[in-house]
Symmetry: C2
Subunit: 315 residues, 2 copies
């Protein structure tokens, strides 16, 4: 048993109770406190020096990212974020002005999305800055979108453009809260998540939770300008498509919808969010695998996304 299998085992044995609608394993936990209109969403995310930011990252952007990562998870459930608590672990001899700037970045994005910061603490952490944020939100009862609802035949959509996030977007991304709620209000979204570990790393989560496979259309995958530019400069020759499939921290929405709704959805999206690209990148198929199709034919995709343990975001 390796460390990941161990952790997977641990999270299967966590205590539950009668309020849990969905526990660990989705973008947020879903909790039922008996409110007739709303369910609660609960999520935590850590943002760690050396993994998610460096000493060179402007501190406001570090704070913004720490909060926005949780907001993106609430978006993935089609929810409204409400209140956050934030813990910041600090090495000895930290600069108070820098911490103030981290808090300012955190507070600014919270304010932008109507989120209260209602607690937290600063504590020592010898190895560097460690930010842990927990976010509480709500979702209209019955409108929460899990990862487990994808059905064979569904169209697969992704917002925005993928890859190359390290060039800047990983700090500046917009949590897709308004878009996700609009989707869930107007369409029967079968499954949804936010992309943090790359399309090739994250799509398997939907597939596994739903017991299905997928076929992607190579030419339909939206590759960001940043990924294309990086590909041109890359001495290792990382192709732009590979970057779009495997780079982490896109924080775009990945979702599936019945094929019969796909065209209507794409059309309505253009009217509602004309500035944000939406791409139908393939379809859900039977089985477990991901296939990729181009003019040369269809072949199995076998890549793994950005891993939080093995790869540093910055090297």
């Amino acid at each position: 048993m390796n460390e990941f299998e161990l952790i997977a085992l641990l999270t299967r044995q966590l205590p539950a109770n009668e309020i849990v609608v969905a526990g660990a394993g989705d973008d947020c936990a879903v909790l039922d406190f008996g409110n007739p209109e709303r369910l609660f969403l609960f999520k935590t995310d850590a943002t760690v020096e050396g993994t998610h930011f460096t000493q060179k990252t402007p501190p406001e952007k570090t704070g913004r990212k720490a909060m926005a990562r949780c907001l993106s998870d609430v978006a993935a459930m089609a929810g409204w974020p409400s209140a956050a608590v934030a813990t910041v672990g600090l090495p000895q001899g930290f600069d108070p002005a820098m911490i103030a700037r981290i808090y300012n970045g955190m507070a600014a994005v919270a304010r932008e999305f109507g989120v209260a910061i209602v607690g937290g603490e600063t504590t020592t952490n010898p190895g560097g800055i460690f930010i842990s944020i927990a976010l509480l939100g709500t979702v209209a009862r019955g409108r929460q979108v899990l990862r487990s609802g994808a059905k064979v035949g569904d169209a697969i959509f992704v917002t925005g453009e993928l890859g190359g996030s390290l060039a800047g977007k990983h700090l500046d991304f917009e949590p897709r809260l308004a878009q996700a709620r609009w989707l869930a209000e107007h369409f029967q979204i079968h499954a949804m998540m936010d992309l943090s570990d790359g399309l090739a790393g994250d799509l398997p989560h939907i597939l596994k939770a739903s017991g299905v496979g997928a076929e992607l259309l190579k030419s339909a995958i939206p590759i960001s300008q940043a990924a294309k530019s990086a590909a041109k400069k890359s001495i290792e020759g990382k192709q732009a498509l590979l970057a779009a499939l495997t780079d982490g921290e896109d924080f775009e929405l990945l979702f599936t919808v019945a094929a019969r709704d796909a065209v209507k959805l794409a059309d309505a999206w253009k009217g509602r969010f004309p500035a944000l690209r939406l791409s139908c990148i393939g379809r859900i198929v039977a089985g477990k695998k991901i296939f990729i199709r181009d003019k040369g034919g269809t072949r199995a995709l076998n890549l793994s996304g950005y891993s939080h343990f093995n790869d540093k975001c910055f090297s």
Copy 2:
């Protein structure tokens, strides 16, 4: 401006919204989501290697402590804990079996108090193990007990015995959830908190929030056997009373109640919780200061409790 003043300033400027009944600064935040019967409690606490535990601490006890610290905060509001998320930052080369034991300790105490663990993550943290837990709970609407309600003339009570927690209790303490709810159900508790930084360090939080002072009766302060034993062995000559006043991590309840309720409360307590000592240690007075009274007279108390930044719990 020193670092603590800066952080105090930062937390005063945090964003709020219409759901916040009480934000940062109490044992838990109190949130109103419109449920006619209940308010929500939200809290986070970090448990850090080298500060709250060492590499010699049995991992189950580390996990238990990390969760129990948050439970103690929900107790301090007279609430019910519901669901937690837990993030564990791990250094390179960690031992998976040790992490499993931390999770087991966390899960066991969560189960004991009916709390679901609904999410979290493991991530890298170069400097050591960093556990951040956020806990969501509820409290009967109107029955939440803040720090700000102490009134001149109130009797001051404390549960259990104080000091010497490092000898073992800091890992094994029982969150006083049942006791706190019983208190709030049967009496008008004016102010309450849990003791984490020592009586002399924590009582000022109630006094400041309530705009009052306190007079403690020296002979009434319940000194733990551990503090007495340590005092006998101490080469620095730390007196047992000083330990009871300043040692951290007692995790007992400190609360105030109108003087007219004090005897009735103490009598009822003996019937309900015969195994847990309850001590009336003094009274709330006008002003801002803490006085301590013994047979020699009354003098101002000027001590500061265990500080998370300046003192390590283990040295």
